[in-house]
Symmetry: C2
Subunit: 456 residues, 2 copies
């Protein structure tokens, strides 16, 4: 048996046990992990220093060094608090979603259940291992974890503490050894990506390149997004002040974010539309990639207003129509195009967007409803910044990731994305052949029961 098959099988075995553990015990082990990580802070710091030293020697960029440093500011304490925060969330497992009377003493229940085995691949931020351990155990899933190689010593030491804690309390909590397995080599990852018999979901947390690569190399469902190409449509009936505020926020609040605006679609019937572009350039330092007709009109309007100065001029480039509307700039750049109607905006977005989050700015309700209905993305907003696409802003307590898949979980994903459901039937000896359709004469009742006060 290959080592990756063995790892996957171990995880499956642990997952099958974890599924039966109460929320109380799953959370209890998280508090214990919190305590032991805290107690072992010095050995973790020592390991982290080794990683930082190796990184310094290999000449890693300063910004990446900062991400590696687990003891910078209150990062370590925030990480510890994060474990407790997850432990305190409502149990995502065993939630009743449907109860239906099929017949007397024969009831169908739909109940949430863990997905099973997660393979989580992330980059070098060392605190992520604690976060993922908490998410996996809280949701009753076994986790196989692979972090970036720059943090290998920190990961190894933290995994040692986590696993010895799980082992120490296994008798008490029932959470089994094997619930969290750290793997270290790339070979293991590629091996694991073929274990679709045992692994149920891959969660890549990291760069778009990482996600794209993983999606291309596995048959296991992947929860993640490769691209965040978000668009905003300025309707003819937009409020100019809202338009200025929202586009500036969406582009400049965090340009490297996947929920940042990359494309601005402008309806030229909007009075003074050019003020929005001017605002983006002057206040946001945004370089505008303008379609030729937009450029011509923009320059003309600004000249009429005696506003066409060097600050504005230096922020105009020609759009490359063949690539710029399918591109995540991840910088203070924005592609701009005229569209003549909401319908045309919807068509552009459905063709070019990555199905992440798109917004319309308008005071016209009919246009807004057309947009909200027509856009095929995880998030569709009316008069709000695309930057709201975020698990914490949605109130999910924690964020597992943002998904651009169309099935299972879409958009920002909370713990809900790590559970699925099962159907239970509780009967008293009923058989199908007594009922219509399978040879019998009894009819089904099919009466939905009120689940608001029900527990099973």
């Amino acid at each position: 048996m290959s080592s990756s098959e063995q790892i996957a099988k171990n995880a499956r075995r642990a997952g099958n046990i974890l599924k039966t553990i109460s929320d109380e015990n799953r959370s209890k082990v998280l508090y214990k992990i919190h305590d032991e990580l805290k107690e072992n802070a010095s050995s973790i710091e020592k390991a982290n220093k080794l990683d930082l030293q190796a990184a310094a020697e290999s000449g890693l960029a300063q910004s990446l060094m900062k991400r590696l440093d687990l003891f910078k500011g209150d990062k370590f304490d925030t990480m510890l608090q994060g474990i407790k925060d997850v432990a305190e969330l409502e149990d995502p497992v065993g939630k009743l979603k449907l109860a239906r009377q099929l017949d007397e003493d024969l009831v169908l229940y739909q109940v949430t259940a863990p997905v099973g085995v997660l393979l989580v691949i992330f980059e070098s931020r060392p605190e992520v291992i604690a976060n993922i351990t908490a998410l996996a155990i809280k949701s009753g899933n076994a986790g196989i974890l692979k972090g970036g190689k720059e943090s290998v010593n920190t990961f190894r030491e933290m995994a040692r503490v986590i696993n010895s804690t799980i082992a120490k309390y296994e008798k008490d909590t029932g959470v089994p050894v094997g619930s969290v397995q750290l793997i270290e080599t790339r070979e293991d990852v590629s091996g694991l990506l073929t274990q679709d018999e045992y692994i149920d979901l891959v969660v890549p947390r990291g760069s778009n390149a990482l996600v794209r690569k993983i999606k291309a190399s596995t048959k296991i469902p992947v929860l993640g997004h490769a691209d965040g190409i978000c668009s905003i449509y300025l309707d003819a009936d937009a409020d100019l002040e809202k338009a200025k505020r929202i586009t500036l926020d969406a582009k400049t609040n965090y340009p490297a974010g996947c929920n940042a605006m990359e494309t601005l679609l402008v309806n030229p019937k909007l009075a003074k539309w050019w003020k929005v572009l001017e605002h983006l350039s002057r206040k946001g330092d945004v370089t505008l990639h303008l379609a030729s007709d937009v450029k011509e009109a923009y320059v003309e309007k600004l000249k009429e207003e005696n506003a066409f100065d060097e600050e504005v001029r230096s922020k105009i480039v020609d759009v490359d129509e063949s690539t710029d509307f399918d591109r995540e700039f991840l910088s203070l750049d924005c592609a701009v195009k005229f569209v003549e109607s909401t319908k045309e905006a919807v068509e552009h977005i459905n063709h070019h967007s990555s199905k992440h989050t798109d917004a319309i700015i308008t005071e016209n309700e009919a246009h807004a409803e057309l947009f909200l209905k027509g856009i095929d993305s995880a998030g569709v907003y009316w008069n709000a910044s695309t930057r709201f696409a975020d698990g914490f802003r949605y109130g999910f307590g924690t964020e597992v990731g943002i998904s651009t898949s169309k099935i299972h979980a879409r958009g920002p994903v909370g713990l809900d994305g790590l559970v699925t459901y099962q159907y239970q039937i509780r009967g008293t000896g009923q058989v199908a052949s007594d009922y219509l359709g399978a040879g019998g004469k009894r009819a089904f009742v099919h009466k939905d029961l009120d689940i608001s006060q029900m527990t099973i």
Copy 2:
């Protein structure tokens, strides 16, 4: 552009429009399709005769001929009624699943939406094309349909009628031409299975071999099941009469069904457990594939009771442990094994089952709860036959298929399996940078609103 890419793009375009069409208009076109198929019954019957003739000439088996014959008994009328039944179902699109106040005048909604483009591959039963057309349009999805080649003339004629109806009423209903595309060649199917940019879900309806082949050859999510290896566990505290009734039903009511029992796990501490096996053989004509210890004990017990006669003897074979517990017999055969506890039963099932449906028979609540919690299958039953795993029995109105995937849709799938969700935010100009975590000072409210009376 390849023909399959063109087909996929057309479907995507149609799907984007269908998404915006009201339930009234989606259902209206289904009634029109019903009417026109009825009016064109004679041309469809003529085409069906051609298929039957070709099948007879090629020496197709009588049972398959029967499936091809669309005008046998009331099959055609039942098919027509099925279209109306789907039209009358509750709209699966636009259902509000969550409404959360993020701040004053800033509300997050989670709303069901069509998946987008379905590729549905089915075998030769001609009535399926009407059923799938109804399901796709009702759920706001564009459908690409490929049926078995034996019914090609019938499919072609029905597709002609369906598409001319859609075209005739396009102005009236908005449901676009291209919503339903019939493809005829295998080359097109393999081409389409690579169009993951445009196609969102593949729904194979047919043999396990078909499903397995499709799952192996596409990156698009597949809704379906390749195997139905269902087990029943007879606990030490089972009621013997319930056990006899349930196992007989589960094995013999429809042995070719995916929800039929294939494995029986027996706790030898159950008093008179052998009566259940004897009942299966005598009343159900079931051949028992017995593990050696089961066989020895079974023969001994029956001999003690002077019941070991030829009828019983002829229904005993040795189990092949290396294959029979991972096998869908699809016949009056059943693998039988002793397990010593509920825990051991759960472990056997989680290892061998296809995650379809498994049941425990017991009067012991603690054992039942352990089983219900521990089994990792779409359906887990207590004192009921596995044959209840069926969309109609669950009260779904219609059945799209049965899924053994662990994400998106599990078990019997109704129209719900053809929709996903989107998040809408309706605001009044809010930007993220005003809020905590993105540079501002405002806190989110995160108050869930009562959606029971709400429409948006």
